[in-house]
């Protein structure tokens, strides 16, 4: 039955990038994660910086505008560019 088919791993170029040198997630900052309407950002606990986990972006920019260190950059998703 097709509904029980296994899942593929799809690559996707994501529109939100985070500069790990500027990101202060390792100091406890979660501003970008908190303000994202779609909840697509997360903190990489090993690297101590934020990243885009789910390719579900409205390119709305609270993450970039509210970041206290200017570490976040929002591009237009490739499919729309």
């Amino acid at each position: 039955m097709t509904a029980f088919a296994p899942l593929a791993q799809h690559p996707a170029a994501v529109p939100v990038s985070v500069d790990p040198d500027k990101c202060i997630a390792h100091k406890g900052c979660t501003v970008c994660v908190d303000v994202c309407p779609l909840d697509v950002l997360a903190i990489d606990l090993v690297k101590g910086s934020a990243y885009m986990k789910y390719d579900e972006c409205w390119y709305c920019m609270p993450c970039e505008k509210d970041c206290p260190t200017g570490a976040v950059h929002v591009d237009i998703p490739y499919l729309l560019r």
Partner: protein, 588 residues
């Protein structure tokens, strides 16, 4: 995964625009009430105005318009299908709300004497008030929530309302999209303010989240109201917008219009007299595309440098500020090139058209104790200021309801069934991922429901949406975030079915492109000068029925009624008439 129970007096679901206002006003009406604002994202940056707004497009300001004029304008813009009492309740509350927002710190444009700098964009009256510094509006609302001591929960996704045996609202159920904990919130009264159904059609880009509306607004409130037994209205009056192609944000001709910008065809000629969004305007837009004169553009390249700089500042810092990046990537400089536009995919949104949950002039739905405000509440062309005014009405009505009613009993069976439905995708080891089911569902919404509407296509669409109901039982979620997407697909499917059934029910054409039926091309006032409603029937099936239009409280002259049917610029109208003889299928 735990089950957590709450008890509050007023529960407000949705913390975007109308919701925070409702919560604040309920507390102001009675400071003893426990008011909980439940938000799927984060109240600080949620909803349609997460990055602010660049203007009011329906401000009723003394000296520029009267409430009666506004009611006439929107009655005409919505082809007569309105409950004028609801429009009047908005119009009468409009100016007080502007002044209150002004006192709270929202910045509106004023002239050198301190008066509001009103602009004319609509066909008949003057209702546009620019907000060139409107980017802070969510911060202003947040301060008021704190001041009024409204309790806030973020990242809780409401999925169903609780009702008692008499059909009265008893609260709501939700889950946490970070932990998947299940929440049962008991409340005396509830306000639904969850925004539009903006993830219904699939954008031409194919990107599921490249929508006009904030994609969090996926129609969950429409679905919740429906399953609670509420009446919905005008669902067939789709939201279809003229947008920047691919970017899918508003071109904002209404912002640029007062500066001299306008919508043109490929030859740079005006073809519509008025850039205010209406179904009739979208019909002319569609005719221009199909008649070979497309694409349609926003023209600014004739304006002076300082004017263009000012437009850039407004449009690239408010509402959709990534717009500047999109234009830069395409090499579109307003000084040299016109902005390519297209017709959006469909959605449901009373803020822009008329599709929503039926409410009276006190924001009450047909379910006792349940109120609705904002884009999902059926008050045609209500926009942001309407969301605030109806948020106020919903908050005050909720407080009044609490004064007269105790808690309704919670049905343990409802809770058990809903918890099982919500958690099911997490408990499957294999199944269908939500993104694939959503893609297919929304692609079929485009295939079968995008106007011009064809009866046979919509019937096939309905069959497909029914088949996808079975697929929902196979949805798989590997974490609480994917669970949110899976439950959203349930709501989107409900909206798709409502959109198909409501469109099939109204066997005439009305509202220009919004409900253009190829098999019934004429407007038929004899049979269809009425509201078309949808409700869950006693047998659990989706039921359509007519609701009579209340006698108008503001009389309409015959030429006023038809004013929105004359939007085409006369010279272009003649040319289009010649072309449509060659393409009769596009003639209404």
């Amino acid at each position: 995964m735990e089950t957590i129970e709450h008890e509050v007096d007023v529960l407000v679901i949705g913390g975007g625009t109308a919701g925070p206002m409702a919560a604040v006003k309920a507390r102001q009406a009675n400071p003893a009430l426990r008011v909980l604002l439940l938000e799927k994202a984060n109240v600080k940056r949620s909803g349609a105005i997460s990055m602010g707004m660049d203007g009011l497009n329906n401000a009723v300001v003394p000296g520029f318009a009267t409430p009666e004029q506004y009611v006439r304008e929107i009655t005409a813009a919505n082809d007569g299908i309105v409950n004028q009492k609801t429009l009047m309740a908005y119009a009468r509350g409009s100016f007080d709300m502007i002044e209150e927002l002004d006192r709270w710190g929202v910045k509106f444009e004023k002239d050198e004497t301190g008066d509001y700098a009103m602009k004319k964009v609509h066909h008949m009256g003057t209702y546009v008030l620019p907000m060139p510094e409107g980017h802070d509006i969510k911060k202003v609302l947040y301060r008021q929530l704190k001041r009024a001591r409204v309790e806030i929960t973020n990242r809780l996704v409401a999925t169903r309302l609780l009702t008692d045996v008499d059909g009265r609202v008893a609260g709501a159920m939700a889950f946490d999209c970070r932990t998947a904990d299940f929440h049962v919130i008991r409340a005396k009264s509830v306000v639904l303010s969850t925004g539009a159904a903006g993830r219904l059609g699939l954008p031409a880009s194919g990107y599921l989240f490249g929508t006009y509306e904030n994609p969090t607004n996926c129609g969950d409130g429409y679905s919740m109201a429906y399953h609670a037994g509420a009446e919905l209205s005008g669902i067939e009056c789709f939201q279809i917008n003229p947008l920047i192609k691919d970017y899918n944000g508003p071109a904002c001709a209404y912002v640029t219009g007062p500066f001299g910008g306008y919508t043109t065809n490929a030859r740079g000629e005006r073809f519509i007299e008025c850039d205010y969004w209406s179904g009739q305007m979208m019909w002319e837009f569609q005719r221009e595309l199909q008649g070979g004169n497309g694409p349609v553009f926003l023209k600014l390249d004739h304006l002076a440098e300082e004017t263009i700089s000012q437009i850039e500042t407004i449009l690239h810092t408010n509402e959709r500020p990534s717009r500047g990046r999109f234009h830069a990537g395409r090499g579109t400089d307003y000084r040299q090139r016109m902005v390519e536009m297209h017709i959006s995919e469909i959605g449901l949104c009373s803020g822009h058209s008329a599709s929503g949950v039926w409410v009276d002039e006190h924001a009450r739905t047909t379910v006792p104790g349940l109120h609705a405000a904002g884009d999902l509440a059926c008050v045609p062309h209500n926009y942001m200021l309407g969301a605030f005014v109806y948020g106020r009405l919903a908050g005050e009505s909720s407080a009044a309801f609490c004064a007269q009613h105790d808690f309704a009993p919670v049905d343990a069976g409802q809770v058990e069934r809903e918890r099982a439905r919500v958690w099911a995708p997490l408990q499957r080891e294999r199944g269908l991922p939500a993104n694939q089911v959503e893609f297919k569902l929304r692609r079929m919404v485009n295939d079968y429901l995008q106007p011009p509407k064809v009866t046979r296509k919509m019937e096939i669409g309905l069959e497909r949406f029914t088949a996808i109901q079975d697929d929902l039982g196979q949805l798989l979620a590997r974490d609480p975030h994917e669970l949110m997407r899976a439950l959203e697909v349930h709501a989107i499917r409900d909206c798709a079915e409502m959109a198909a059934r409501a469109s099939l029910f109204r066997t005439e054409s009305r509202w220009g492109l919004y409900h253009a039926r190829v098999d019934f091309p004429e407007r038929n006032d004899a049979d269809w000068f009425c509201h078309a409603q949808i409700r869950k029937g006693a047998d659990g099936a989706m039921t359509s029925f007519k609701r009579a239009i209340e006698p108008y409280i503001v009389p309409m002259a015959e030429d006023e009624r038809a004013s929105y049917q004359r939007l085409r610029v006369p010279a272009a109208a003649e040319a289009a008439a010649v072309r449509s003889e060659s393409f009769p299928e596009f003639q209404q």
